[in-house]
């Protein structure tokens, strides 16, 4: 299983980019944490997901 935004999902074998395409989000408005490394949505590394990978896909929100 791969942890995607806190949920375990069977995404092994897919690339990070494929997962973001499935989420259908605008890459210019997100950032991605792959394990402990953070990347702008437009600068994703080529990475084939494997068991235990942790992925967070985030965006900016209002906050104080």
């Amino acid at each position: 299983m791969v942890w995607l935004n806190g949920e375990a999902k069977p995404l092994e074998g897919k690339t990070l980019r494929e997962v973001l395409e499935e989420l259908d989000v605008d890459l210019s408005r997100v950032a991605v944490l792959l394990n402990e490394e953070a990347y702008p949505g437009r600068e994703l590394p080529h990475h084939v997901l494997k068991e235990g990978d942790v992925v967070e896909v985030v965006t900016l929100m209002q906050g104080g």
């Binding site: 935004n5 997100v30 950032a31 953070a38 965006t59 929100m61 209002q62």
Partner: protein, 261 residues
């Protein structure tokens, strides 16, 4: 011109605005302009599938420097993760460091904050840490090289005012050995902001008091004026309070119509 600095950046406005809780981006933008804010905080959150993300938010915040926060972090490790994501999203190395394990009082964790600050500085971040009114912690952060220290005036979002005044006075007294002191959290009225600036502290960070006002734009302007009033009063050198009354008019020559006194 009276300015202050965060890192190498010279700022004129001593009012940092939090972008939370505004009912829409239009009101937020107008409030930001009325506040004269040059720096505005933003949060980082998970996207939902097929949700467009911050459409309109960046546009509404155009022209100000974004200060991504680590809100939601309960540990140093979580704060690092959120900070890195904030930098990837905004391209901005400034981070408002907040590490808050306690969901009831929302008080910052001093140990985790210090740990996180050290790690973030090593990664090249410019760190603005939210802390309790603890001068010892502030000095430790200053030694590490944080860009500011941001002690609280009262609980986050409470609007209670400067409840920590006696301890903030120590920050004012020791100001020369500290980075800029930004009082964050708990301010409810422009007079509270004025009080902080009158002490000689550098700036305030305000969110809820403006966003939850009936008219946030008018309140933003009121806070701008409160901050300016407090700062000018500090620079003007306030009088020393004395023990009792002191007449403002001459005591001699009062025309009483009878024998002189």
């Amino acid at each position: 011109m009276d300015t202050w600095k965060v890192g190498d950046v010279e700022l004129r406005s001593r009012l940092i605005l939090g972008s939370g809780k505004f009912r829409d981006f239009g009101v937020m933008r107008e409030a930001m302009q009325a506040a004269g804010a040059e720096v505005v905080t933003v949060a980082i959150r998970r996207v939902e599938a097929r949700m467009p993300g911050h459409v309109g938010l960046l546009e509404a915040l155009e022209g100000v420097r974004l200060l991504p926060n680590t809100a939601g972090a309960r540990t140093a490790e979580e704060a690092l993760r959120i900070a890195r994501l904030g930098r990837a999203l905004t391209g901005e190395r400034w981070v408002k460091l907040e590490v808050i394990p306690d969901p009831t009082y929302l008080l910052p964790d001093p140990v985790e904050t210090l740990k996180a600050a050290e790690a973030l500085l090593a990664e090249g971040f410019l760190v603005l840490p939210y802390i309790g009114p603890d001068l010892v912690l502030a000095r430790r952060l200053a030694q590490l090289g944080t860009a500011t220290v941001m002690p609280l005036a009262a609980l986050i979002g409470s609007g209670w005012g400067v409840k920590t005044r006696a301890l903030l006075e120590l920050f004012a007294r020791e100001r020369a050995s500290l980075p800029p002191v930004v009082v964050d959290a708990g301010l409810g009225l422009p007079s509270h902001a004025a009080e902080v600036l009158e002490l000689g502290l550098d700036a305030v960070l305000v969110n809820t008091a403006i966003a939850e006002a009936k008219d946030p734009v008018a309140m933003a302007e009121a806070f701008r004026l409160g901050v300016e009033a407090g700062r000018r009063a500090y620079l003007a050198g306030p009088m020393r309070p004395r023990e009792g009354a002191s007449p403002s008019s001459p005591t001699e020559g009062v025309p009483l119509g009878g024998p002189g006194r």
